[in-house]
């Protein structure tokens, strides 16, 4: 299984390991998005199917618990995209998005 990691940076301005710091944004999954969609997607615009908020994929809140990647709406926290990589293939579920352009 391929773990999907995250780049690391720490600044003296924060306590290391602050919980919120584990949350990234859509920039962190740029490569995964190209793998799955075949094209650069961080500037694609998504409409949240739960609250209607419109954001660029780069602005979504991204969680990477190792089992997969979950991209959530920064407004309501609703799940918009779930990526799981199994047997070498990355799959995506976009059911939380009302649209993605």
């Amino acid at each position: 299984m391929d773990p999907i990691g995250s780049s690391a940076a720490q600044d003296g301005a924060l306590e290391p390991g602050a919980l919120e710091d584990r949350v990234l944004d859509g920039n962190a999954i740029g490569g995964l998005l190209i793998e799955v969609f075949g094209t650069e997607m961080t500037t694609a615009t998504g409409t949240c199917g739960h609250c209607g908020r419109v954001s660029q994929v780069a602005e979504l809140a991204v969680y990477q618990p190792g089992l997969g990647t979950v991209a959530r709406c920064r407004g309501c926290g609703g799940v918009l995209m779930v990526f799981v990589r199994s047997r070498g293939i990355a799959c995506v579920d976009l059911q939380g998005l009302a649209s993605l352009t």
Binding site: D2, P3, I4, G5, S6, S7, A8, A9, Q10, D11, G12, A13, L14, P16, G17, A18, E20, D21, R22, V23, L24, D25, G26, N27, A28, G30, G31, I34, E35, V36, F37, G38, T39, E40, T42, T43, Q56, V57, A58, E59, I89, A90, C91, V92, D93, L94, Q95, L97, L100
Partner: protein, 246 residues
Amino acid sequence: MAGTAVRGRLTWQAATVSSLVDETAKVRTLVFEVPDWPGHQAGQHLDIRLTAEDGYRAEREYSISSAPGEPVTITVERLDDGEVSPYLTEEVRPGDEIELRGPIGGYFVWDPSDGGPLMLVAGGSGIAPLRAMIRDRARLGSTVPVRLLYSSRSWADVIYRDELSQHSEGLTVIHALTRAQPPGWTGYARRVDQQMLTEVAWPAAQSPLTYACGPTSFVESVSAGLVALGYPAERIRTERFGATGG
């Protein structure tokens, strides 16, 4: 929309480490020779993949810290409990091969035709993609005015310290040293806060373009702080580095 699996055109390739540059005690730049590198834009990143003999793999993303046209470099901070950063900053030698794929990213990118004035805000190793932008601007002889607010623990932790100290037309660098300051330091000696942003940031009326990069909570508080100064959210681009992994 249903699920889908599509094979993309981004492929892993083996790049050779051509040299290493120790930027600070904990930070090292790796210079790569990448066969068939297609070129990149300032602000883009690449993915690195490490594979152990038993097949165990780790992947991380690192911003490209060099400008378009320069050899591809990444700048890595060693996290003591990290899995990848100690390897990249302590074990890797010139001549080693590392698998990478890139360039990646279309959101957190800038080139002089995007205009300004540019507001760059960096927390720690978040300086890496912003340094690529600054170098690209210099390389192209751009006169877009830039202010860089750069937060570090101490003077010794400032990455690209000498390079940023060089006088550069239209570039102003403001340091915030959050934990320790050298004797005689008259600059900011605290974390970036609303007051500091008020003093340092371009007036909102000048319609600046902002790029903020660093740990997630740093980026979010800077972004909120600039919005409070009247910066429209659409002209603030953020890249969160997280705080774990490594």
